[in-house]
């Protein structure tokens, strides 16, 4: 990756981080409140099924994660395993796409 591309990746990392800060806070709060009475499929789906708001929220969450996680792991792998270069970048790209796919499927599963 060129320095310019790496700089852009860094900005994407920070922007997705800011988005995730909000999403994670909301998600954690929801979970803490939701798990109060015990966790059940009915409770989860009762909240999320057919809700445009939740679908949008979790959709955004998934996109932010698909950007943030692979970039972060890329840095950790480079620093701790010395894994750098084109091959590494492609793999992390693939991880991002995988997360996007699995996440979208999960959102569809609970929201539709």
């Amino acid at each position: 990756m060129s320095a310019r591309a790496e700089a852009r990746a860094w900005v994407a990392q920070r922007v997705s981080a800011a988005v995730l800060a909000v999403c994670v806070a909301v998600h954690l709060a929801t979970m803490i409140l939701a798990v109060h009475g015990g966790l059940s499929a009915a409770a989860i789906l009762g909240r999320t099924r057919g809700s445009v708001a939740w679908a949008t929220f979790y959709g955004l969450f998934v996109v932010a994660v698909a950007i943030h996680a692979p970039l972060g792991l890329r840095t950790v792998a480079a620093e701790w395993l010395g894994w750098r270069g084109r091959a590494a970048n492609l793999v992390w790209c693939a991880v991002g796409i995988l997360l996007l796919g699995l996440g979208a499927r999960a959102v569809a599963a609970v929201a539709l």
Binding site: A41, I44, L99, L102, A106, A109
Partner: protein
């Protein structure tokens, strides 16, 4: 750790595609103590990652004011621990 957890989390929720029963069955499986403990640890780490990240965003985009930053770091750790505690209390 989150990286390993996330795909599993997504897969778990996708169980709902199969039906409520499948999701419930999976949820029942997660009630095991070892998994509960891992969940609490995960939430703590996530909260710490979040607060540490917020600290970074402030230093990088708002600026550097040394002593204040160290205090912020301590506060960040405290908030993370508090959140994890809340989570744990609700689970157990």
């Amino acid at each position: 750790m989150l990286a390993i957890f996330l795909p599993l989390h997504f897969l778990a929720l996708s169980q709902a595609l199969i039906g409520e029963g499948a999701l419930d069955a999976f949820l029942a499986w997660t009630q095991q103590p070892l998994l509960k403990a891992s969940e609490i640890a995960l939430v703590f780490l996530l909260a710490a990652h979040l607060t540490g990240g917020l600290r970074l965003l402030v230093i990088e985009f708002v600026g550097w004011h040394s002593e204040a930053q160290k205090a912020m770091l301590a506060a960040a750790g405290g908030v993370a621990a508090f959140c994890a505690l809340l989570f744990a209390l609700n689970l157990v």
